[in-house]
């Protein structure tokens, strides 16, 4: 019965481990309960979004100008996936915790860590199972996309895929938090408290520190909620993607450090500190990646193509000194409409925020001024509109403003439709299918061919 072949221990196959992890995640109630809860949540959001979109469309169908403001990304996709985001934040940690928590509670982890897999392999396979879990719970949201297409709605592939990618990264981030929480906690209940403290605490951080400056602004950047916003605005930012990848890798590395039960607590703490240091360094490096792609169909994050081409040729450093407080709505306008676009279009742009509230009190005339220095020339403006700022910049650079291109205008996609019938799917059909799938998986397995007759006890 026993083989002396030591080779068996050297390279254990990954497939049975992955199959076991997926069986574990699908055997638990957490996944199915979440799926059943996501159905009405996403369905209601989708129906509401379609209803509001249709109301706006009825006026827009008469006016091409109004129609241009109707984007399915803003009107349908973001609100529908917004409810999915809430579900992932509040419920997905339970699914991820199940992947490891159950093994800790039943003692199976002590068997698992003795199997011929590296600890990193064990954790990465668990992360794959978490990914599989996320794919399953995203089925209702994905079916909403299909429903929108069936209703005749427009879907632009780049911005839709970008949004899905953002949610996938967010799901992995929450899953990583859940896995780490399960590893450092003694029980699944404690792990759930730890994971929710991070995800909900992140919301609180975002709400309370929104619009603040200085350290508060820096802390607000740490909020998980912030990670999805660029994706919702149709922006694929290399720095953000790298940053999220670093955090997911960091959470995975910390899980690997805390997984083996045989290592000393002191060793684990020392390794964790080193790991956190590496994460901070890597995040710093990721923040240097400024490249981003505007994948929105209406190119809301970019100037016109002609302007972008011309701005890309302006090689000298542009220094913009803004005398506005960061919470000032004018600054928020300026950042969205001009600064963010300039940073993407020009090779060397530096923005200096010089206008705190105390400065506004001491020099009220200077407050609101925005100074542009290009090479050895400078100019001042108070405008936050690109229509005034771009000509100013071209004048500073001695460049001729480009001729506006034709056919670049976003047409908008107004649609009058009713999603009431889709409620039947989200409140009836899909939950029924999920319940059936759950029952099918819970059903006693088919007897393996090895089973013979005869009981011994």
């Amino acid at each position: 019965m026993r083989s002396r072949d030591a080779d068996r221990r050297l390279a254990a196959p990954i497939a049975p481990l992955l199959a076991k992890e997926i069986r574990e995640i699908t055997a638990g109630r957490a996944l199915w309960t979440m799926l059943l809860l996501v159905c009405p949540l996403v369905g209601y959001s989708f129906a509401q979004a379609v209803s509001l979109y249709s109301e706006s469309s009825s006026a827009a169908l008469q006016s091409p100008v109004l129609a241009r403001s109707l984007s399915p990304l803003d009107g349908i996709l973001v609100p529908t996936f917004g409810s999915f985001y809430v579900a992932v934040t509040l419920l997905f940690p339970f699914v991820a915790i199940r992947v490891l928590g159950q093994e800790k509670e039943t003692g199976a982890l002590r068997l698992l860590v003795q199997l011929p897999y590296r600890h990193s392999t064990l954790v990465l396979v668990k992360l794959c199972a978490v990914l599989a879990g996320w794919l399953m719970v995203s089925v209702p949201a994905l079916s909403a996309l299909a429903m929108w297409a069936v209703l005749g709605g427009h879907l632009a592939a780049p911005e839709t895929l970008n949004l899905l990618f953002g949610h996938l990264l967010y799901g992995l981030l929450v899953g990583g938090i859940g896995l780490l929480a399960a590893t450092i906690s003694d029980s699944s209940a404690t792990a759930a408290i730890v994971a929710l403290a991070v995800t909900i605490g992140s919301w609180v951080l975002d709400f309370t520190l929104a619009g603040r400056s200085g350290w508060s602004a820096w802390f607000a950047q740490l909020s998980l909620t912030r990670t999805l916003r660029p994706f919702e605005e149709g922006l694929l930012s290399a720095g953000l993607v790298l940053g999220i990848a670093v955090v997911i890798s960091g959470l995975t590395a910390l899980t690997i450090i805390w997984l083996p039960p045989g290592s000393h607590r002191r060793t684990r703490f020392a390794r964790s500190v080193a790991c956190l240091f590496m994460i901070v360094l890597a995040l710093g490096a990721a923040a240097q990646a400024r490249k981003s792609l505007d994948v929105s169909e209406d190119r809301r994050n970019s100037f016109s193509a002609a302007d972008e081409r011309l701005l890309a040729t302006l090689r000298l450093p542009l220094v913009i000194t803004v005398n506005l407080a960061p919470e000032d709505p004018r600054y928020i306008d300026l950042r969205r409409n001009v600064l963010a676009k300039l940073e993407r279009a020009m090779p060397d742009v530096a923005v200096v925020l010089a206008g705190a509230r105390q400065n506004a009190a001491s020099s009220p005339d200077a407050y609101g001024q925005i100074e542009y220095v290009y090479g050895n020339r400078n100019d001042v403006s108070r405008s936050t509109s690109p229509r005034e700022i771009l000509p100013l910049l071209y004048a500073l650079a001695g460049a001729q403003p480009p001729v506006p291109g034709s056919g670049e205008d976003y047409p908008g996609y107004p649609l009058i439709a009713s999603a009431n019938a889709s409620l039947l799917w989200f409140f009836g059909g899909l939950p029924l299918l999920i319940a059936l799938a759950w029952w099918r998986i819970r059903r006693p397995a088919t007897k393996p061919y090895l089973i013979g007759k005869g009981a011994k006890s």
């Binding site: 254990a12 076991k20 159950q102 039943t106 003692g107 011929p116 090895l450």
Partner: protein
């Protein structure tokens, strides 16, 4: 650290445990300077009452519990914690792995990990009488079948040394005899076993040698004859010897 001494027949111990000490917290001593050796092919019983430190010894050897001091040697060479799972396999007590999966799924998972053939899996299932419950989920198994399932995982592991914590827990007398036969069969294939047993009568039936553990300390080591000689109880049972030494 004391190097492992050869056995009287000149053979190097398969496993040598030197001065293992484990403290829980700052001053709660679980085991203190535990030292013993295991010969290839033997069944060594670590016996003692509940709380004697038996499980702590096994988990420390398996590398699943950090110790304060002490070392483990494999064939005379120090065995690093990271390498222990390559040499030995530990079956903990009270484990119900993957409660929502069927016994067959758990068994076939371990069999596939260790690349066991169908014939080997079938032989293990038959040896432990698991056929009637293969389709049942682990949480539905009786205590006896759950224990058989855990034992089957150990038998499927290809390691030379198996550490088992309370392998007879949950079995009646007839079943214990049956399992003893299975474990004895394992030594015939050259496998070595270290068993933690708190029932002295069971230990006496299966073990070649004994380590008597009480309050975290080794009180006696040897075969039944050695221990009888050591205590002067010429016809004493293991129970009498244990009481005399502790």
């Amino acid at each position: 650290m004391p190097a492992p001494q050869p056995f009287p027949d000149g053979s190097v111990p398969l496993l040598h445990v030197a001065n293992l000490t484990k403290l829980y917290g700052r001053d709660e001593l679980a085991i203190e300077r535990v030292m013993f050796s295991v010969q290839a092919g033997e069944i060594l019983g670590i016996i003692g009452p509940n709380g004697a430190g038996k499980t702590t010894v096994l988990e420390a050897i398996a590398g699943l519990l950090p110790v304060n001091s002490g070392e483990v040697f494999w064939r005379g060479e120090p065995l690093k914690i990271a390498d222990r799972r390559n040499s030995l396999f530990y079956l903990p007590d009270g484990v119900h792995p993957y409660r929502d999966q069927t016994a067959w799924q758990v068994l076939s998972f371990v069999a596939r990990v260790f690349r066991r053939s169908d014939a080997e899996v079938r032989a293990t299932i038959e040896a432990l009488g698991l056929q009637p419950v293969l389709g049942k989920r682990v949480h539905e198994l009786s205590k006896g079948y759950a224990r058989r399932l855990i034992l089957s995982l150990g038998l499927l592991a290809p390691h030379e040394l198996l550490l088992m914590d309370e392998p007879f827990d949950g079995f009646d007398l007839r079943q214990i005899r049956e399992i003893i036969g299975v474990l004895r069969g394992q030594t015939a294939y050259g496998r070595t076993l270290i068993l933690c047993i708190h029932q002295l009568a069971d230990a006496e039936r299966i073990c070649d040698r004994f380590i008597l553990l009480s309050a975290g300390r080794v009180r006696g080591i040897g075969g039944l004859a050695d221990l009888r000689a050591q205590t002067g109880l010429a016809t004493g049972s293991l129970e009498d010897i244990f009481l005399a030494l502790t």
